[in-house]
């Protein structure tokens, strides 16, 4: 008959075949199907090999020792896995009626505890000696249990730390974890300079610390994160005016912001200008645009551009990083009118002006913003740009400063 190990591997092979068929036909993922097929082939190969070798306990062609072999002796040991398996089933049930993450955790627990239970049951057929069987189980399971258990423990500790950090205020997080790190270093010094310290004491301290972290993480996680404000940006407000014009107009009537668009307004938008996103990534090769005290726009770029160049050339379809320096006496923003573009509003194409701008920045301050122009200047030749300087050369693309009529700078996109 089939040995215990063969039954296990044959069963696993059948599950793998079913999983491959279900995934391959149902999902159609190429890589996943290849992976599952590989696993199936490997399991079938192992099952065949194991069936031939009869768990390596007896010769395949010698039927007499089968009944007398140690593998045929029944020596059950106490096991926690049936209980854990049942508990995992409860988690699955709770997950089905509550949250998907709990269901996923439950399914993983069912698989893990089921596998442990199966391995232990298999090991109990190894001999009539409980200790030997336990060693057999350990030899198979420990190479998986230790790294997975370690990763889980580290993950729980890290996750607990993150919950505590997100619960505390930014300042208190810095103070708390500086103190904690100092305590950890101090304990490490004590342990290092007292090598004969009782290992139980060290283990006790570490276990207490780990439990404290997990308890703190659980409590703070249940209480929730501190209030982290989501700052609006000028780009969001500019898009809002185009994509949701009705709501934008209602917001203006309620006094949330000026009625005009942010990139055309010298007024302050409280949410966008006072609390803008402060994320400025590491940039290099930036272009400078300066609002001078005389109310004109000057610019500088890397390289020998020369003094007789009136317009700034920026690349098409590429990010150009620009620093706006406000050297005037007023709060000002720099806006760029990139002509018209097509926006999708309620599944319909709407042609509107493509503008981006900085926040309103104080005198002497600077702000970086990134420009991407999708269309060349020639696309707008002959088209009046309402934000140009006026006169005969007001087509094309222009930097402008709302509220300062003399501040214009042509942008050339090849």
């Amino acid at each position: 008959m089939f040995t215990t190990g063969s039954k296990f591997l044959i069963g696993a092979s059948v599950v793998a075949v079913i999983a491959t068929l279900v995934y391959g036909i149902g999902q159609g993922g190429v890589m996943g199907t290849i992976g599952l097929t590989s696993a199936t082939v490997a399991l079938i190969g192992l099952a065949t090999l194991n069936a031939l070798l009869r768990d390596s306990n007896v010769f395949a062609d010698d039927s007499a020792p089968v009944e007398a072999s140690s593998a045929a002796q029944f020596a059950p040991a106490s096991s926690i896995w049936p209980l854990a398996f049942a508990f995992s089933g409860v988690i699955v049930a709770v997950g089905l009626i509550s949250y998907q993450p709990i269901l996923v955790i439950g399914l993983i627990a069912v698989l893990a505890t089921g596998a442990e239970w199966a391995v232990q049951a298999w090991a109990e057929r190894a001999s009539g000696n409980v200790e030997h069987n336990a060693e057999v189980r350990s030899r198979l399971s420990n190479p998986l249990e230790y790294p997975v258990g370690g990763a889980l423990a580290i993950g729980i500790i890290v996750y607990s730390f993150s919950r505590v950090m997100l619960w505390l205020s930014k300042t208190n997080t810095t103070i708390t974890f500086s103190v904690l790190a100092s305590i950890v270093v101090a304990i490490a010094f004590v342990i290092a300079f007292r090598p004969k310290m009782n290992p139980l004491a060290i283990g006790g301290v570490m276990a207490t610390g780990a439990i404290a972290v997990v308890v703190a993480g659980t409590l703070t996680g249940l209480d929730g994160e501190r209030d982290i404000p989501v700052f609006e940006t000028t780009a969001i407000w500019q898009e809002e005016a185009i994509l949701h014009p009705v709501e934008y107009a209602e917001g203006a009537e309620e006094g949330k912001h000026p009625a005009e668009r942010i990139c055309e307004s010298p007024e302050e938008f409280p949410e966008a200008d006072e609390d803008p996103s402060q994320t400025v990534a590491g940039k290099s090769g930036t272009f400078d645009v300066v609002l001078t005290p005389a109310g004109t726009l000057d610019f500088d770029v890397p390289g020998p551009l020369g003094d007789n160049v009136a317009g700034m050339t920026i690349q098409r379809s590429n990010a150009t990083n620009i620093i706006f320096r406000n050297e005037s006496d007023e709060h000002r923003r720099l806006s760029l009118d990139l002509g018209t573009d097509t926006f999708v509003v309620n599944d319909e194409d709407v042609v509107d002006r493509h503008q981006i701008c900085t926040t309103l920045i104080e005198p002497g301050a600077a702000q970086l913003f990134t420009v991407v122009a999708g269309q060349p200047s020639v696309a707008f030749e002959g088209q009046i740009n309402p934000n140009g300087p006026g006169g005969t050369e007001d087509d094309g693309l222009w930097f402008f400063v709302p509220g300062v009529e003399s501040a214009n700078l042509q942008v050339i996109v090849p």
């Binding site: 098409r316 990010a319 269309q375």
Partner: protein
């Protein structure tokens, strides 16, 4: 008990023959004459600085290596196991250890001084006289010349690809970046590699001593057709460079009515102009035809074809637009004085490499591996990486070739 694995004399002879062949092959590879990307044959000051430093460092490293391996070989031979008793074991020889620490440190300091000096000299771009933006994207290079007083004065931006024209004997500032992934710009005969990272601008000084053609290749793995992402620098003397600029900025010339090229213009508008810009091209109503590669291609760009036949390559400089005879003339036979006028003749009917151009138009993804299968564009929201298969008929290809031949 000692276990000895006998080695037959024939095995040793075979190993010796193989080693001799491998070493000889390595040395003979250095004798190649047709090596356009030979980093040990500099033709510009920046590459010469690198070459000078490399030769000095390699010389020092060679001497150190020779001494080290000789000492190892001597010790292995001299003290080989002949059944003698193990010699007396001692711990520590302070004088020797200190000496063997100080000596390498001194050698490294000696190497570091010229290395740091050369690196700093190469990074200095204050003496440049001309700005060219170099932008990498999968799998071709775009070169654009912003409006500037440098480069002899440029009043309108110029955009080209594959081949970058520069004034000879002039320090040019390359402002490099990328539109998609990290690429690396490398013209071995003119300067070292410079990575081009999206969102950043990297400066590189480029200078060629004499007019000529200098080959390069993307030096940072960038995806499927990385090996097919090439570029060439064309150095021209001042007069020829002015002529090149003037030609690039000439107004668009429509094909003569009722010609194959005129039909090709409409074919181009219908099939190519969504991505490829031809400056000055208008539709039947006189409305400018503006390409929107940002709506079609992941990188947001496709080569500007306004003056395609003034450059001699296509598809990321992977294939020539000229035949092999013309290529030999330009690459090998032309003197520095002859090169510029010959290059400015561009691609003419007589020496057009129609085979590769036709194959490219017929099925570009089959000729150069690209992510252009519409069914596999989910990760890029339907945007292509590379040129898609356009299912053009042979008649349409004839029309396009006739039209493109006039883009000079």
């Amino acid at each position: 008990m000692k276990y000895v694995t006998p080695t037959s004399p024939s095995t040793l002879v075979r190993a010796a023959k193989f080693a001799t062949l491998a070493i000889a092959g390595s040395f003979l590879a250095g004798c190649a004459q047709n090596a356009p990307q030979d980093t040990f044959a500099p033709e510009g000051q920046n590459a010469r600085d690198i070459d000078t430093l490399s030769r000095a460092v390699f010389s020092i490293a060679g001497v150190v290596g020779l001494i080290t391996f000789s000492a190892i070989g001597y010790a292995v031979w001299k003290f080989r196991d002949r059944g003698q008793p193990i010699p007396e074991q001692t711990h520590g020889k302070p004088a020797l250890e200190i000496g063997l620490t100080i000596l390498p440190a001194l050698i490294l300091i000696g190497v570091a001084i010229p290395t740091v000096g050369t690196i700093m000299a190469l990074s200095d771009t204050d003496d440049t006289e001309c700005i060219i933006n170099v932008t990498g994207q999968q799998w071709w290079w775009e070169f654009d010349y912003p409006v500037q007083d440098g480069c002899g004065g440029i009043d309108e931006p110029i955009v080209t690809s594959g081949q970058m024209a520069i004034p000879a004997d002039t320090n040019v500032l390359i402002r490099g970046t990328s539109r998609d992934v990290i690429h690396s710009f490398w013209i071995p005969k003119l300067n070292g590699k410079k990575d081009m990272v999206p969102g950043r601008v990297h400066n590189l000084r480029m200078q060629a001593d004499e007019p000529g053609l200098y080959a390069g290749q993307c030096a940072e793995f960038c995806g499927l057709s990385h090996a097919n992402m090439r570029m060439e620098v064309i150095a021209l003397d001042d007069a020829d460079f002015e002529a090149w600029k003037a030609n690039q900025l000439e107004d668009y010339q429509s094909p003569e009515p009722d010609t194959l090229a005129a039909v090709g213009e409409q074919t181009f508008i219908a099939n190519c102009s969504r991505c490829h810009q031809v400056d000055g091209l208008t539709d039947g109503d006189g409305v400018p035809v503006i390409a929107r590669p940002d709506l079609q291609v992941y990188s947001g760009a496709a080569p500007n074809l306004s003056n395609l036949m003034t450059r001699l390559t296509l598809a990321g400089a992977t294939w020539d637009l000229i035949d092999s005879e013309r290529r030999d003339l330009l690459w090998n036979d032309a003197t520095a004085e002859e090169f510029g006028p010959l290059y400015l003749e561009g691609v003419q009917d007589e020496w057009l490499n129609e085979v590769d151009l036709r194959e490219w138009l017929r099925n570009s993804p089959a000729k150069k591996p690209m992510y252009a299968d519409p069914e596999l564009l989910e990760p890029t929201d339907g945007l292509y990486r590379g040129m898609p298969y356009l299912a053009l008929s042979e008649d349409q290809i004839d029309q396009l070739i006739a039209y493109l031949l006039e883009r000079k």
